[in-house]
Symmetry: C2
Subunit: 344 residues, 2 copies
Amino acid sequence: MRATLMYKAGDVRVENVGDASIEQPTDALIRTVRSCICGSDLWPYKDLAPTEGGARMGHEALGVVEDLGSEVSNIKKGDLVIMPFAFSDGACEFCEEGLNTSCLDGGFFGLNSGIGAQAEAIRIPQAEGTLFTVPSTDDGPMLASLLTLSDVMGTGFHAALMAAVEEGDKVAVVGDGAVGLCGVIAAKMLGAEQIIIMGRHPKRVELARDFGATDVVSERGEEAAERVRELTGGHGVHAVLECVGSEQSMLTSMQIVRPGGAVGRVGVPHYQAIPETATTFFHNVTVSGGPAPVRAYIEDLLPSILDGTIDPGRVFDQTIGFDEVPDGYRAMNDRESLKVMIRP
Amino acid sequence: MRATLMYKAGDVRVENVGDASIEQPTDALIRTVRSCICGSDLWPYKDLAPTEGGARMGHEALGVVEDLGSEVSNIKKGDLVIMPFAFSDGACEFCEEGLNTSCLDGGFFGLNSGIGAQAEAIRIPQAEGTLFTVPSTDDGPMLASLLTLSDVMGTGFHAALMAAVEEGDKVAVVGDGAVGLCGVIAAKMLGAEQIIIMGRHPKRVELARDFGATDVVSERGEEAAERVRELTGGHGVHAVLECVGSEQSMLTSMQIVRPGGAVGRVGVPHYQAIPETATTFFHNVTVSGGPAPVRAYIEDLLPSILDGTIDPGRVFDQTIGFDEVPDGYRAMNDRESLKVMIRP
């Protein structure tokens, strides 16, 4: 089968590898219907050290179940399933609390586990706890929206929940990538009254407005913080969704949050420390977040996708086949594409 | 009147100063019934730079209302009142949300405002929003417990709420000072099943056990973290109450919190950054807290004090008159005394 490997920063190749297959009785094998490239794949694209044999890439997929281990009984061959970016047994104390990303038998697809989703087929560990069956469909836009439940829509929702967005709140979303845009959708679902998108890319900002953003701040650094304070009567926002993970974005997040407010961080941290320690203390600011337990959120979000209330699949602005995957990475890295979908 | 002034680190004096009096129509004047020395007063006791004329000290008091500004109508002369460590108007958007320590017309007693509570009388700004009338009493232990609503009991309660303590939780309290001990009381009130006090002072640890602590960890640093993990089945605690504010205590807090758990910090930060940024991200740890809005908590806590369910006044292990205040600072700084009460 064909799969995506990254050999070092900037070096992505699609190669023939051994077919994925069942290895454990708790595994399933899925044939990939849709996969995609994630903003977080761009971190290794910028800085991965040379790796012997290449690293398997990709952690988001929709697939059809092709084979099942002997201990998997809650899904069946032919099911259309969502594969969350983390696998989890669904049974340990953390899964029972809804924190599947801390599963005691779990792990992350892609780089860390050696199981890449940017491939024609994928072995799914802990399939009973991991996969989620959805109604079969071949509707393109619906498949795109379902695919976002693998990661970006669930991650944006997590940011909003961790930032404790409530009815009537003023909210800022830091980052106009796919997660940030899904964060706008989530903030609106939770009843935010004002949603400020912080970004400067015209198409992304336009999509953010479609999704419910009420204001756009395209300034950066201290000027951006100043502008947010102006837009919010001087005190900042109740909730910040930090969807980037850089030192600057985290600093801005801390500067625009209102006393008593919260920052929900979902951008993988590329900063050494949470800044503004004393200010956030004296302002009783909460910092929360981490890898989203998207498996737990599928039940919350799926109905709104199925009935058309939300259409997060619009974050995909380019669809490619496997041959074009290396160029897909380049296009996302150059910010030519917002998010690239792969259709085998 | 007599008042406490700190001239520089280690130099505390009780001197005659001009009588406190009404300055604004929103002020009240109270005659001090009880005041006390706070663990946070020990920070300037260790590092205050020399100050011309001395800094007024003290931010906790019980008093009897002696005079009222023309705009104060919800309290009356002769009332026994609790003075929270911050003054607040009770009417701004932050006060209405229960975050009185971010009041738009507020401030902090002691060093920052020049109004010290370790004095025979105290001018209270924003008296309507600040003071809380309680039933008159001359019962010594009851007065001591009421006095803790000025700061330490409300602050321990804030730590527990910000750490999101819930029924059945495993909780660790970092610090065996008065706030930490009140944190034990608060964790028990909120239904914690396991309460680990981290401290090594025999008398304080004993009082913590009386208040509801189930385990004691007297190790420090990495050994302390290891011991907490052992006591909690390997994963750490759901909630950490950080009641010190040092770099080491914050690091320990981050090392003992369970994935998905929270650290409620109330120790004034003497660290530059919140440590373990990446670990806490991958574990979805929440960091919250700040100066406690103790004014908002009096209503929650007062009934349990009045009916004897809790007796936080036991944190006072020494009672002194004004002449002995300098020695009271020394005794607390040397950890001879847990918390010193001042009876004029």
